[in-house]
């Protein structure tokens, strides 16, 4: 019998991922670039639960009694606010990052479901305008493809200040995806690694932003709702400053929100989790008397109806999905295709390489021909419908006849972190960190 030996033990600090990253960095001399959002474990909507009805709260009959889901965006200043049938929109994702059939599928799915889709950092394509009943046009620092005709044929305009995956960072589209068509739309040579600016070229700070928003309104006859999108960083002040600058809608994107390509270190170490960002943003709106008058759209890691219902209960007017929408279209499936790339379905995040077997995050004609935009659009519509029904099921159980009637009092926190971030009491208590005790302590 051999002498007892200790088992090999991995370090919790130097775990397998950390070791692999050191080895990869040492071998290549360059940091890792990838798509998607933060993958680390973060406080999230799973750390909240709904209470449901009880003696003091009456539920509504599931499947029968009405629970409305519509939302109006942009009534503060716009002559033509956007009305959506469901409070979940499709987030901005660029043509360039995504294939043309993928953009078309997003438009088709969103239109069937009665909601909006959004352009991205590459201008508006005919595919998405043609197939999107409601299309939000992003106005970005890079201004790629930006033109006033597209501004006018959009249904709303989203001034992008930042995004959750990389607050303070610009974009990056590597040469593999800069085809002739993508390059032409962006006024760039084909095949080069392209940077999207991190700052707008003609405004800085909230006072300038107010003037910029006014210019956009003058050009579009004050018809279009104007959104301001910020990455979750300083949500209280960014929300307040957006309101001051004249925004109709604030879009708040947490660090789980995806990107087409950014440094891994940026994605994982800059910004706030979505859960931590909502309450300060809602507080800013409430302090200004603008809650529900300026709408708040929350994005970053929304995976289904429960996440949506929790975001709404915390005070959001709508949520937005990106990564979940791509998965609904068919991304990261089937397994064997991803194994050929040396990865596995569900973990694939090299969206910048343009080799997506599902034909979504690619500009390769052979690959994107694999995506049927009609079928993929139908799948997205199905997912949006399920999300909505899930949220309605929860809302009815809480006795709400509209998703917007969900409120923080319907929730409890499962962790101290979630309680501190949301000011929703810890389950089984009436306390959250920072709240004074009844005796004043």
């Amino acid at each position: 019998m051999s002498a007892p030996r200790s088992l090999p033990r991995f370090s919790a600090t130097f775990d397998r991922h950390a070791i692999a990253e050191i080895q990869r960095a040492a071998a290549t001399g360059i940091y890792d670039i990838r798509g998607a959002g933060a993958k680390r474990k973060l406080p999230h909507f799973d750390d909240l639960l709904f209470l449901g009805a009880s003696i003091s709260r009456y539920p509504l009959e599931g499947y029968r009694e009405r629970c409305d889901t519509n939302v109006v965006l942009g009534a503060r200043h716009a002559k033509r606010p956007v009305e959506l049938q469901i409070p979940v929109t499709i987030a901005g994702m660029s043509f360039g990052a995504l294939s043309a059939p993928a953009k078309e599928a997003l438009g088709r799915g969103a239109s069937i479901a009665g909601t909006s889709t959004t352009t991205g950092d590459g201008g508006m394509t005919e595919e998405e305008r043609g197939h999107s009943r409601t299309l939000v046009y992003q106005y970005l620092p890079s201004r790629y493809g930006m033109n006033p005709a597209d501004l006018r044929r959009a249904d709303a305009i989203e001034v992008v200040v930042g995004q959750g995956a990389k607050p303070g960072g610009g974009g990056m589209l590597l040469g593999q995806k800069i085809t002739e068509r993508v390059a032409r739309m962006r006024n760039l040579p084909a095949g080069i690694d392209q940077r999207s600016a991190c700052r707008h070229p003609d405004w800085t700070g909230p006072d300038d932003l107010a003037i910029k928003i006014e210019e956009l309104r003058e050009i579009t006859a004050w018809e279009k709702p104007i959104f301001v999108k910020v990455g979750a960083s300083r949500p209280y002040y960014d929300t307040a400053l957006s309101v001051k600058a004249g925004a109709d809608v604030v879009v708040l994107d947490g660090m789980q929100g995806g990107t087409a390509a950014t440094q891994e270190v940026f994605i994982e170490h800059v910004g706030l989790p979505t859960l931590a960002a909502i309450r300060p943003a809602v507080q800013a709106l409430q302090d200004l008397g603008m809650h529900r008058r300026v709408q708040l759209i929350v994005s970053g890691g929304i995976r289904g109806g429960a996440d949506m219902a929790k975001a709404l209960a915390l005070g959001a007017d709508a949520v937005s999905i990106g990564t979940a929408a791509l998965i609904a279209l068919g991304d990261n499936d089937p397994e064997q295709e991803y194994q050929k790339l040396g990865t596995t379905a569900g973990a694939y995040d090299d969206w910048h390489e343009g080799r997506d077997p599902a034909g979504i995050t690619t500009q390769d004609p052979e690959l994107f021909a694999r995506l049927d935009p009609v079928l993929a659009g139908r799948r997205l519509a199905n997912f949006l419908s399920v999300m909505t029904m899930e949220a309605q099921a929860i809302a009815r159980a809480c006795g709400k006849s509209h998703l917007h009637n969900l409120e923080p009092e319907d929730l409890v926190s499962l962790t101290l972190e979630a309680a501190a971030m949301t000011r929703v009491p810890l389950a089984g208590t009436d306390w959250y960190p920072g709240k004074e005790f009844a005796d004043g302590r």
Binding site: N147, P148, I219, A221
Partner: protein
């Protein structure tokens, strides 16, 4: 000569001015306009899309003639930040000086500034041509992608930082070049383009032979570890 149609911004709101100008049909024969008393207002004559000539009689604030298409706009005064930003086509002329970000992300047309321009002139330009009789400030032509920037005077620090395919001509001193910007030999077609721009701008007293040309060294076009200090 047809008398210009006049709008007085002391009496008419900006919204009404734009409602009138934006409603003009593409083939309008109401082609001569003057705007009086702009008094530094922002966003004057933005989003035009008709073959008209419009003269703004005085100083303007931010974004004058922003996103202009097809119109010819004369600003008889100074212009604030972002004059002719994102211009698509047409012509914008500033008789005085222009503040920062003149012609930012413009995609076509010609912007002429008879005085000086501030920082970031031609930032992110995407096909617009810009001719400045005087000098330009720092970070001009930052990330400029396409088009010509012609500077009759001096250029401030970090000219052409992170430049793509825009071409920059400077007659005077360049305080410093930005990352990946370098002086280029002037080919006959570059000189012809410069002469053409000087003529269209009405600066025939400037001689093309007195300019130097700058463009992208294209060292940052592909992400490479050896360039880490430049990123």
């Amino acid at each position: 000569m047809t008398e210009a149609l006049s709008v007085d911004l002391a009496e008419t709101s900006l919204r009404d001015l734009h409602a009138t100008l934006h409603a003009l049909p593409k083939d309008t024969n109401r082609t001569l306009w003057r705007v009086r008393n702009p008094r530094g207002k922002h966003s004057v004559a933005v989003g035009l899309d008709a073959p008209i000539s419009l003269r703004i009689e005085g100083h303007v604030g931010y974004y004058a003639a922003g996103m202009n298409a097809r119109a010819s706009v004369l600003i008889d005064g100074n212009a604030g930040p972002g004059v002719a930003e994102n211009m698509m086509s047409g012509k914008v002329r500033v008789r005085g000086d222009a503040s920062q970000s003149a012609g930012a992300s413009g995609r076509g047309g010609l912007l002429v500034i008879e005085g000086n321009a501030g920082a970031r002139c031609g930032i992110s330009m995407k096909g617009i041509d810009i001719v400045v009789r005087g000098s330009v400030g720092h970070l001009s032509a930052f990330m400029a992608q396409e088009g010509f920037l012609v500077v009759g005077g001096d250029a401030g620090e970090a000219l052409g930082d992170s430049l793509y395919e825009a071409r920059l001509f400077v007659r005077g001193r360049v305080a410093s070049l930005g990352a990946d910007c370098e002086e280029k030999p002037i080919r006959p077609e570059d000189r012809a383009a410069l002469e053409n721009l000087l003529e269209r701008a009405g600066f025939s007293e400037l001689r093309a032979g007195d300019f130097r040309m700058y463009g992208s060294a294209r060292r940052l076009y592909h992400f490479h570890v050896d360039n880490a200090s430049a990123y």
